[in-house]
Amino acid sequence: MRLLSHLKQWRAVATEAKHVSFAVAKFIGLIHLTESYLCSSTLLHGPSMLPTFNSSGDVVLAEHLSHRLGKVVPGDVVLVRSPDDPKKMVAKRVLGLEGDQVTFFDPNRIRKHNTTVVPKGHVWIQGDNTYASFDSRSYGPVPYGLIQGRVFFRVWPPDGFGSVDD
């Protein structure tokens, strides 16, 4: 009967589809693990890290090992989950670890200096462009646990290709 032969064909297609989808799932899983634990690429945009990063969009590589091993030091550009909007990731520079004294311009009153000590378990992050950056000067020190990765290499634009270092 034609129905039976159709069923047999469908069975072959189903087995093939199962194998292909397993292979695709394994591949996606591997990519995801690499991106979460080793190295991932991100598009940065916005004016808060000028002149280090362009406002129109830089593609950078970020590694996800340093913050797990506690090896983030002041001067690193890190990716941080925003304390204001948990869905948003921001890139800022770490200026102080716990216990450090940080001096900064108050964003509301330009002439006034403020000094604070970074509390335990927190870091102080600031954008390189202090005039257009919404950072720890506004929302205070952020818990270390919000750091997601460290930016170490720029891939695009081509004239900025190279490592990101101070």
Binding site: G29, R81, S82, G121, P143, G145, L146
Partner: protein, 180 residues
């Protein structure tokens, strides 16, 4: 003579079979571990909770519980959920507390119940949550370290699997509005 024995062993069928099993088994093991890690990070994980801060809900000596990660990712956590969060004081430590208020809500809490009755009220800022342990006398929570950014929440504890006499889902509390 020992060398000859070694040579014959290395060229033997048993050794080659063992080598083949190893080269088959290692990728399978790696795939299994990767799969397990993905499940642990994005779906379901087993946690061991200990400490006095969540008495009587969670015992003093360890309780093994299941925690799911889907609610945190899709922001479906509600007041009264028992949540896992990365401690704002010690970033490597994961603590278990109850979610008492979300952003925008006003929370009234007793600052230091062992010594005095004074209470304070504040509004939870945007992007943050307020967590408290069920045992407010012995709990280091938002009353000490302030509202916690939502990004530090790691999962929701919903089922207890050890000790066996307590097997089952955790009792939901209505948070700050419950009558004690």
């Amino acid at each position: 003579m020992a060398l000859r024995y070694l040579n014959s062993f290395i060229s033997s069928e048993a050794f080659k079979n063992a080598g083949r099993e190893l080269t088959d088994g290692v990728p399978r093991l790696v795939k299994f571990v990767c799969c397990l890690q993905l499940t642990k990070t994005h779906l379901l994980t087993v946690v061991l909770t200990y400490g006095p801060s969540m008495l009587p809900t969670l015992g003093l000596t360890g309780n093994l519980c299941l925690a799911e990660r889907i609610s945190t990712r899709f922001e479906k956590l509600g007041v009264g959920d028992v949540v896992l969060l990365r401690s704002p004081d010690v970033p490597k430590k994961i603590v278990t507390k109850r979610l008492v208020a979300v952003e925008g809500q006003s929370v009234t809490y007793i600052v230091d119940p062992k010594n005095s009755d004074t209470s304070e009220t504040l509004v939870v800022p945007k992007g943050h949550v307020w967590v408290e342990g069920d045992n407010i006398y012995e709990s280091n929570d938002s009353r000490k370290f302030g509202p916690v950014p939502y990004g530090l929440l790691q999962g929701r504890v919903f089922w207890r699997i050890w000790p066996p006499k307590d097997f089952g889902s955790l009792v939901q509390s209505k948070g700050k509005d419950s009558v004690s």
